[in-house]
C-alpha cells in the first residue's frame, strides 16, 4: 500500500469528504510525526506503536571492501516499536 492508495482507501470509506481534504489529513499526520521526531520528541500511538529517535555515537568504522578505517559521525536514527495490539494482530491475535 502506498500513500496514494491509503488516501484512496480513506476517501472511499468517507464519501462525504473531499479527496483534497483526505490528502491533507494523511499528509498532516505523517508530517506532524516527522516534525516531532525532528524536535527529538517521541510519538506514542497506543495499540499501533511508538516512534522515537535513537542516538548513535561517533565511531571508528571500516570500509568492508578495502578494510580502510573511516570515522563515522554521531547520528540520530528514527526508531519504531510496534504496539502490543498490532503485534498480536499480526500473529493472528
Amino acid at each position: 500500500m502506498t500513500r496514494s492508495e491509503l488516501i484512496a482507501a480513506i476517501a472511499q470509506r468517507n464519501p462525504h469528504l473531499y479527496q483534497r481534504d483526505v490528502e491533507r489529513i494523511v499528509t498532516t499526520i505523517f508530517e506532524e510525526i516527522s516534525l516531532a521526531l525532528a524536535r527529538g520528541d517521541r510519538v506514542e500511538l497506543r495499540g499501533f506503536g511508538a516512534f522515537s529517535v535513537k542516538h548513535r555515537e561517533a565511531r571508528q568504522g571500516r570500509n568492508p571492501r578495502t578494510g580502510e578505517s573511516v570515522s563515522v559521525d554521531a547520528k540520530a536514527v528514527p526508531f519504531f516499536k510496534t504496539g502490543k495490539q498490532l503485534r498480536e494482530r499480526l500473529n493472528g491475535g
Binding site: T2, S34, F80, T82
Partner: protein, 99 residues
Amino acid sequence: MAENTMTRAELAESVYQEVGLSRNESADLVEAVLGEVSDALTRGETVKISSFGSFSVRQKGERIGRNPKTGEEVPILPRKVLVFRPSHVLKKRINDSLT
C-alpha cells in the same frame, strides 16, 4: 534534553487545525488512517509512505532463546514482526535539526 511525547490527541488537533472538520471527526480520521495501515500490514502488505518510510512484515523462524534470569532454554516460536524503515528524507530531517 526536554523530550515530549506526542499522542493521538495532538495529531487529531493538528488535523483539526489543518482541515475544516470537527474535533471529533478529526480524531476519527486519525484513527481511520492508523486502522487502514494496520489492516494492510495484517494482510501482509508493505505500506510505503513516500518521504516518511515503509512498514513491512517479516516472518521470523523458531529459535532457542534463554531466560536470562534462570538460564533456562525456552523455544521462541515462529512469529511475524513489523519492521519500519525510515526514508532518507526522514533520516536527513532528523539529523539536520540536530546540528
